[in-house]
């Protein structure tokens, strides 16, 4: 087995002992990136000139990683997988990227996303669709599609992603890797291309809970450039991974899990994980939340995210930067740039967002969506007074085939496929870990906890991961 496929701690040890070099790891990661690019299309940019980094005491030093292409990277093309930014080279680093650079990471590429991070399929980026390494006829999910695929394929041990509705956790589940979205403000959003600011989170993909913990410990922290970031110097995730979880209390939401019952394979997998939790001494209970509120998650998410997105992306006019198209007046320049620069799906979201923000619609659409958001967050926060976390199936099925269509108005879709948005609504720390295979494809569970308890959420996930004993694709094939 290549050192690249080992845990971050093991790679770090090997680097320190001189068994492998940063250069070798970098070359190996670049080789794999190219090798799988045609099959998976994970990368917008592969950085062939990536240089090895000095190995320090930091576990991340000298180890390659990939960055979602909506993180501003100084001097490195950053497209957000949109034609409007297909030539955009940023002049500054996102804080998360800068922190990884300080830690000594080696960035080997920028990964494909759904255009401007809006989408959950990984099929809408301007450089083409991203495929699932477990089965290339299936999607990996999105929007952090390339990062998920690159980690699932073992091209890099970890990757940065962003999560506005479930954009890290959904594809992590489909790809059989760990996906983490921290408490809102734990990691600075400076330099993350904004989709919906009140819902956007910076997070990561890794093969194990422990690896993800190392990444988050390195990128978290208060940032004077992000007023919503907070001081978390008292939070140490790695150090608390192995605490005893006996006595911890978990709940699952009845109305959502009920939708899973009709499909025994999935339901059994979930029950098995609940049994593991109980074996670890945790209490697991069922809790009920009004189905009408739960059915409101998806529509209110769409309303809020589209509204914020239409405003956040108003900077893309081609005037100060970007792919400017000609026009005889400034208005024409902006209209032409935006018409040609965005795909139809994106324009559709902007029209929806604009409609929602219009004076005559704000009360009914925008403010009501925020009321639903508030209702859900209040309810879950209330439950978190009793519980340490909420444990749920990550999605209603394995990764869909490219031609599969969801009935977006069915309860199954509204509840099972969209409940991860609760984590974004409340800014709750939320982790997705693989929980086994169904039809030879990975399935996953999600644990979401009260804000600022990132360490506890990691701790619970780490203990469950040991019990589950999932083998990632990259290691599986080595055997």
């Amino acid at each position: 087995m290549s050192y690249l496929d080992k845990s971050l701690k093991e790679i770090h040890q090997a680097l320190q002992e001189g068994k492998v070099t940063s250069k070798e790891l970098t070359e190996e990661a670049l080789k794999r990136a190219h090798e799988y690019q045609e099959e998976l299309n994970s990368f917008v940019t592969i950085l062939d000139d990536a240089k090895e980094e000095k190995v320090t005491d930091n576990v991340l030093s000298g180890i390659p990683c990939a960055i979602k292409d909506n993180f501003s990277t100084k001097g490195v093309l950053t497209t957000a997988s949109s034609n409007i930014l297909s030539d955009y080279v940023p002049v500054f680093d996102a804080t998360a990227v800068a922190k990884l650079k300080d830690a000594g990471m080696v960035m080997i590429g920028k990964t494909v996303l759904d255009e401007l991070a809006m989408g959950g399929t990984g099929t809408t980026g301007h450089t083409g669709i991203v495929k699932n390494p477990w089965d290339p006829t299936r999607m990996i999910g999105g929007s952090s599609a390339g990062s998920a695929a690159a980690v699932a394929r073992g091209i890099v041990p970890y990757a940065l992603g962003s999560d506005t509705g479930d954009s890290i956790r959904k594809p992590a589940g489909y790809g059989g890797v760990v996906g983490y979205k921290p408490t809102y403000g734990l990691v600075s959003r400076w330099g993350l291309f904004a989709f919906a600011s009140s819902l956007d989170h910076v997070g990561c993909f890794a093969k194990t809970v422990e690896d993800a913990a190392y990444v988050i410990d390195n990128i978290k922290g208060i940032d004077e450039k992000d007023m919503t970031s907070f001081d978390s110097s008292n939070v140490n995730i790695v150090d608390n991974l192995n605490n005893d979880v006996a006595g911890k209390k978990l709940f699952y939401i009845k109305e959502i899990v009920d939708e899973l019952k009709e499909d025994k394979k999935y339901y059994d997998n979930f029950l098995k994980v609940l049994d593991y939790a109980k074996e670890l001494g945790m209490e697991v209970k069922e809790e009920s939340i009004d189905g009408n509120i739960l059915r409101g998650i998806y529509p209110s998410y769409m309303a809020i995210s589209c509204a914020e997105a239409t405003s956040n992306n108003s900077n893309l006019t081609g005037i100060p930067f970007g792919n400017r198209k000609d026009g005889s007046t400034p208005d024409e320049v902006m209209i032409n740039t935006r018409t040609e620069g965005f795909s139809e799906l994106i324009r559709r979201r902007f029209v929806i967002g604009s409609f929602i923000l219009q004076k005559e619609n704000q009360e009914k659409l925008f403010l009501n969506a925020q009321r639903i958001r508030r209702l859900i967050v209040d309810k879950v926060t209330d439950l978190f007074k009793t519980y340490d976390g909420c444990i749920m199936p990550n999605a209603g099925s394995i990764a869909p085939k490219f031609d599969e269509e969801h009935d977006r108005l069915s309860d199954k879709y509204l509840l099972l496929e969209n409940h991860l948005g609760i984590g974004n609504f409340g800014g709750f720390p939320s982790i997705t870990i693989p929980s086994g295979l169904v039809d030879n494809m990975p399935v996953a569970i999600n644990i979401t906890g009260p804000i600022m308890t990132d360490d506890v959420v990691f701790n619970i996930a780490n203990k469950l991961e040991e019990k589950i004993g999932f083998v990632p694709l990259s290691k599986k094939e080595e055997k």
Binding site: F71, F92, S197, D226, S311, N313, P330, F366
Partner: protein
């Protein structure tokens, strides 16, 4: 005649070290695009950080205008597309402005009028555009500069009231030390709403946007009153619209109608976490608000008995007024302090086109100078000489008087000795002294002064000479 109703929206750039949501310098520069941070260009991934100093300054003005302050500071986005707006939205305040429901008293020809303030809010300025024949250039130096917009109720009823409000508001801003408020530097800009009506109900509102000087505000109001009067007199209806003023001709032109009004799709800026406004914070700020122009003027007239003219002269520039006040607080007679400040001091400043901060003079020096004259140590003529030396050198009056040997001889016995000496030396004239002949006494005073090199107190000398001459030789 129609009733004229005017409302004003005044934009004023605030001073601060950095811009309102970015770390770029907030300062004047000749070089375009040199005070620009990533935020000011709207690059993807930027986030705003609210400038605490600018927020406090805005709150200061809000409180000086007797506004109700909010329980927390939050901002809103005003969304629209324009080449001077790099983010595609302007961060402003709509939900909770820094101030609402305030008032400012103005003095319109001696009549005090209360102008109601609808609200005052903090926002960011846009970039500036320079238009040429076939292209335009964008200067982002102005992008993100803190701007305070104050909106009056439609409660002004003449050009004079509107201009008086603007002057008063400008002085309030300057007195609060939050801006130079100079329209020639583009720091103050104004939107004017004018409506005419035969009844007490307001007529159609016509807004004239982005006027760059008070003079032009006056022209716009004049033109609108005339234009709307003509329409109404001819039985027409004034259209509710937005117009612009042509600086060349002083005429206003149609920009857009009410039906074309832009929906700015306001919503709360999600990247700026709400900051609570505490009582302690407000108290801290309140302490820094100085007594304002009109209050000072009233005080000078009522308490110090100064003339309206002198009071106006004193309060015109806050620093001069502060200087005067300190003289008075040190115990100087207000009228004498006023004479020195409005006379010699401001004369000197005007002549040299400098500000009071630029001369090495301190209020305590005026106090000393007045004391020296009061004590008859120096004459008022000498005092002027001392003043001139003082303002150039910054030396204290006592020092100057000593250095120049100006100290008057007021000691009775010393003067008496000299008087007797002079009389003896001019025995003949002294004997023939006739009190009717005033020229004679002047001769003797002149002799005493000659001997003392002008240092003998003239009043005392005169008194003593008269007494001694009347007894001389008898």
């Amino acid at each position: 005649m129609y009733k004229v109703t005017i409302g004003l929206e005044v934009h004023c750039e605030l001073q601060s070290n950095s811009k309102v949501f970015s770390p770029a310098i907030n300062g004047y520069t000749e070089a375009p695009n040199s005070h620009v941070a990533y935020q000011d260009l709207g690059f993807p991934g930027i986030l705003p950080v609210a400038n605490e100093e600018a927020v406090k300054r805005a709150l200061k003005v809000s409180m000086a205008m007797n506004c109700k302050t909010p329980d927390e500071i939050i901002f809103d986005r005003k969304n629209y597309y324009y080449p001077d707006l790099p983010k595609g939205y302007q961060i402003t305040q709509m939900t909770k402005p820094v101030g609402i429901n305030g008032y400012v008293d103005i003095d319109v020809n001696g009549e005090i009028k209360r102008v109601d303030i609808h609200d005052t809010h903090l926002e960011e300025d846009t970039a500036s555009l320079d238009h040429y024949d076939t292209y335009s250039l964008i200067d982002y130096n102005r992008s993100g500069i803190p701007l305070l917009e104050t909106v009056t109720e439609p409660c002004l009823h003449s050009k004079e009231e509107a201009l008086t409000f603007l002057e008063t508001y400008r002085s309030l801003i300057v007195y609060c030390g939050v801006s130079e408020a100079r329209s020639d530097k583009g720091q103050m800009r104004c939107d004017v709403n004018v409506s005419l009506s035969e009844t007490d109900e307001l007529g159609s509102k016509v807004e004239i946007k982005n006027i760059n000087s008070f003079y032009n505000v006056g022209r716009a109001i004049d033109f609108e009153i005339e234009r709307q009067t003509e329409i109404l007199q001819n039985g027409g209806v004034v259209e509710q619209e937005t117009r612009r003023l042509d600086d060349e001709t002083g005429e206003t032109f149609h920009m857009r109608s009410k039906v074309d009004a832009v929906d700015y799709k306001y919503f709360i800026e999600p990247n700026i976490a709400p900051t609570p406004v505490t009582d302690e914070m407000l108290e801290e700020i309140r302490k820094t608000i100085p007594m304002l122009q009109l209050d000072r003027k009233r005080k000078y007239m009522e308490e110090y008995g100064l003339s309206e003219y002198d009071s106006d002269v004193l309060v015109k520039v806050k620093e001069n007024s502060d200087f005067f006040q300190e003289c008075v607080d040190l115990g100087t007679d207000p009228k004498k302090a006023c004479n020195w400040v409005t006379g010699m001091l401001m004369g000197y400043l005007n002549e040299n086109e400098i500000k009071i901060e630029e001369v090495p003079i301190k209020p305590i020096m005026i106090k000393e100078l007045v004391d020296l004259v009061d004590a008859k140590t120096i004459s008022s003529k000498q005092a002027k000489e001392v003043f001139e030396c003082m303002i150039e050198s910054g030396k204290e009056p006592n020092v100057i008087v000593k250095e120049k040997g100006m100290m008057q001889i007021s000691d009775d016995s010393a003067i008496h000795d000299i008087v007797m000496e002079v009389l003896k030396e001019n025995d003949e004239q002294a004997r023939s002294y006739n009190p009717e002949k005033t020229r004679m006494i002047d001769f003797f005073v002149g002799q005493v002064m000659k001997k003392t090199r002008g240092k003998a107190n003239p009043a005392k000398t005169m008194e003593m000479l008269k007494e001694e001459l009347s007894k001389y030789g008898k």
